[in-house]
């Protein structure tokens, strides 16, 4: 059965989606990714969708699910490289992907993850009483 490969880079997981996802493939990815986050204690998940030309409400929901599930496991999710046409279509469809962080490309996404995790660690070391939302 087809699977989308998940790469590990330090404390981050990197997924590059190169094919059009059909439902089962997307659901498998969701399950695999959550397992991997748990197993590797990853702090961040980076999903590159620059090669994806269509994101419908189902796909959008999977991405949202991955972000929420990773969040519970203490990992941030960044989606990078969304095509302009896909972004406009998602907005018109009524799916703004709330709670998912985005960046223009993998490099900027990595930088974003690092600052987010860095901030968190700084907060922890300062033992600040305020909990980040």
């Amino acid at each position: 059965m087809d699977r989308i490969p998940i790469l590990r880079m330090g404390s981050f997981l990197l997924v590059t989606i190169q094919v059009d996802l059909y439902d089962r493939l997307a659901l498998t990815l969701e399950a695999d990714l959550v397992q991997m986050v748990n197993k590797t204690q990853a702090k961040g998940v980076l999903i590159d969708i620059s090669a994806v030309s269509i994101v419908d409400s189902f796909m959008g929901r999977i991405v949202g699910n991955i972000a929420s599930m990773s969040k519970i496991l203490d990992a941030e999710t960044v989606v990078v490289g969304m095509q302009p046409a896909v972004a406009i279509t998602l907005i018109e469809l009524g799916l703004p992907l709330k709670g998912v962080h985005t960046a223009l490309d993998v490099e900027k996404g990595m930088a974003l993850l690092k600052t987010m995790i860095g901030d968190e660690e700084a907060d922890e070391s300062e033992e600040d009483d305020s909990v980040a939302e």
Binding site: S57, A85, V86, I88, T89, E92
Partner: protein
């Protein structure tokens, strides 16, 4: 007056057919020089309908037509299924309403993405959804 220039019928029975259908649609859209944004809108909208068809009606048929009206060209897709039908169409067209476990964006969302949208349904007989998108 809308003229139909070509017809292409695609049967949708399995999950993988979704990708096949998209590719067929993409080919037609490229042939009539539809812009990338409108292509994406149309393919996403039909993706929603195809998904509904698979989930609620065990598949059906998608008819892809190239149509023209005056100087405009476009694509019209008619989805026909023999599923259980939709009890209350106005409710199904409302954002966030779903009898399944989805987000309930399928029908209202795809309506927002196309230029013309029509849905007819008869309980116990099936549902017909029509989408139309002009190239410009």
């Amino acid at each position: 007056m809308i003229l139909s220039l070509s017809k292409d019928s695609v049967s949708i029975q399995r999950e993988q057919d979704v990708v096949l259908f998209r590719n067929r649609l993409k080919e037609v859209a490229v042939k009539i020089k539809m812009g990338l944004l409108n292509q994406t809108r149309l393919i996403t909208a039909s993706s929603e309908i195809v998904r509904n068809m698979l989930r609620y009606a065990d598949g059906g048929i998608g008819l892809i037509e190239v149509v023209s009206r005056g100087r405009d060209n476009g694509i019209r897709i008619t989805f026909t299924d023999q599923g259980p039908g939709i009890a209350d169409i106005s409710l199904a067209m409302r954002d966030g309403y779903s009898t399944g476990k989805s987000l309930g964006l399928g029908l209202p969302g795809s309506k927002r993405l196309v230029d013309e949208f029509d849905i007819k349904s008869k309980m116990g007989e099936g549902t017909i959804v029509m989408l139309l998108k002009w190239t410009r």
